[in-house]
Amino acid sequence: MTADTGGTRSRRGAGGSRPRRLDRGISWPAILLFLLPALAIYAGLVLYPIVQSTRYSLYDWNGLEPLTDFVGVDNFRRAFSDARFRAAIRHNGYIIVLSLLLQIPFALGLAALLNVKLPGRRLLRTLFFAPYVLSEVVAGVVWRQILRPNGLLDQGLSAVGAEGLSREWLADPDIVLYSLFVIISWKYFGFHMILLLAGLQQIPKEIGEAALIDGATSWQKFRHVTLPLLGPTLRVSVFLSIIGALQLFDLVWVTTKGGPIGASSTMATHLYEQFRRGLFGYASAVSIVIFGLCLVVALAYQRAVMRRDLRGTGLVG
């Protein structure tokens, strides 16, 4: 234990991430004791249920009788041929696309804005982040009141003489998803903004200044200097946005319960409905599909991050 003091101290400067030499002076029973509480809870309540979900998904089961009615992949076949589940997947997809096209650029723009030395920007930062701290339930209920027929939004529109723009914001199947997207953006843009702002602040000012001195316009500087350097943070933001959209439940359940006529259902609301109907096997299959999609996104993300690391070595791109 005292033998391993030499050599490695000089590496302290290397980004801080490299650990100095680690201790070996610990016995196996001690290691296991340290890990035991976390591993036991995690294995019992995260890993084991995921494995069990896979098992249940192969049975026709109502959760009460013994698990005997093995049906193979029937539940999955049923899920993918179920128009309602397919619609739910599509809705998750729309939310993802809208988030990436609108919400993240919006958050990025605001992050760039707050990166300028603006008096009062600390206060703005605090207030923009506030909706993220509230629960989706609270956000959903308040917005439901704003968007209800003749609610705050409609009243506001007619106050400025634009009552012609009024819609059934949460009851029109063609509009409800967009309304939900607005609520989602309201709650989450501050989170992405803070994330991207932290990324922006890590970029040395000198690099941008050098570009400006070389005659680049502000836009060119943003496009060719800031954006590439912001890549890693932006990817995290995109990744979290996708994962969040894939598991969307609370907000939808509180505002529309997936309606009207299923126009705002998500995979998770579909899952919950099947669960409530006692279709435990089928519900498990749906949860495995969500699991699979999250896994695919995670792997794609890993690849993207690894590519970035490799690029640093000059081996690719």
């Binding site: 234990m1 005292t2 801080g16 650990p19 680690l22 201790d23 002076g25 196996w28 001690a30 290691i31 340290f34 890990l35 509480p37 976390a38 591993l39 995690y42 309540l45 249920p49 995921i50 069990q52 249940y56 605001l110 804005l113 300028v116 207030l127 923009f128 506030a130 909706p131 701290v133 509230l134 629960s135 989706e136 339930v137 609270v138 209920v141 308040v142 917005w143 009141q145 705050l152 506001g156 106050a159 994330l195 932290a198 943070t233 995290v236 894939l246 598991q247 609370d250 359940w253 509180v254 998770a268 899952l271 919950y272 669960f275 498990s284 949860s287 969500i290 999250c294 995670a298 991050v305």
Partner: protein, 276 residues
């Protein structure tokens, strides 16, 4: 040049104020809405209430059901934190400071958990909780929440433990302290900031949770605040003022908590995301 800069500055403020209005209007609508009558909400939902109506807030503040939900939410948040902090810090400490076979694999196993929402495990969780008799029990929510909260906690704690200078550990080891003494009397006192951050974000997550409590706590006496808000909203859907007052009272604790612990909340919620 100077005037152009002023114009740009002005433009930035216009954008910032527009966004600020977007953020604040729903919040103030909810807070002020609780002070209006339904009639006022239908006829003039904008501006200050005229006259101010205190009856909704007073009703809820004297409603035993509301306080029971507050208590249930508090109990579950504290239980979750009481499980996450020791479990995560023990594991993160040994992973951060010691070399042993399978260390990276164990860490990897925990990080995968970051990706999966409670939804993917919901059916077996329900079955398991039913078997062990934890449905309609605060622990039935707190334990799974803690389990799903471990990955973030371990990921945030590991670099913190790792950054503690080795000299501190060496000094204590020379005095004959084993790993547990080191953990308890060297590491934990030094890691108060990170423990605070994890505690704060665990409480926030638990306070806001809806899906799991909805499944596990079907008994009215066990309901948490988010469930209560949802029920009020569904049950009194035309009693607008009452719904807004209830919702406001449910969000005030979160906002106060945010005002008090902004730094921990912001850094905790974003750090878990950035450190991969």
């Amino acid at each position: 040049m100077g005037s152009r800069r002023i114009l740009t500055g002005l433009g930035l403020y216009v954008v910032a104020i527009a966004v600020l209005a977007m953020v604040l209007i729903p919040l103030s609508f909810s807070i002020l809405g609780g002070f209006r009558t339904n009639m006022q909400l239908i006829e003039s939902p904008v501006g200050l209430p005229n006259p101010w109506v205190f009856e909704h807030y007073k009703d809820i503040a004297t409603d035993a059901r509301f306080w029971r939900q507050v208590r249930n939410s508090v109990v579950i948040a504290l239980l979750t934190t009481a499980v996450v902090l020791p479990a995560a810090s023990l594991a993160a400490y040994v992973i951060a400071r010691y070399r042993f076979r399978g260390r990276e694999a164990v860490y990897g196993l925990f990080t995968v958990g970051l990706l999966f929402p409670v939804a993917v495990a919901i059916v077996p969780l329900y079955i398991t909780l039913r078997q062990v008799g934890l449905l309609n029990n605060p622990l039935g929510v707190a334990l799974p929440q803690a389990a799903f909260g471990l990955p973030v906690a371990i990921i945030v704690m590991r670099p913190f433990f790792r950054a503690i200078p080795k000299e501190m550990q060496d000094a204590a080891s020379i005095d004959g302290a084993g790993p547990f003494r080191l953990y308890w009397s060297v590491m934990l006192p030094l890691s108060r900031p990170v423990l605070g951050t994890i505690a704060v974000i665990t409480v926030v997550m638990s306070w806001n949770a809806f899906f799991l409590p909805l499944l596990v706590l079907t008994d009215v006496d066990q309901h948490t605040l988010p469930i209560g808000v949802n029920n009020i909203s569904a049950q009194y859907s035309t009693d607008y003022a009452r719904v807004l007052a209830y919702t406001t009272l449910a969000m005030v604790p979160a906002l106060v908590f945010y005002a008090l612990a902004e730094r921990q909340i912001v850094s905790g919620l974003t750090a878990g995301a950035v450190k991969d």
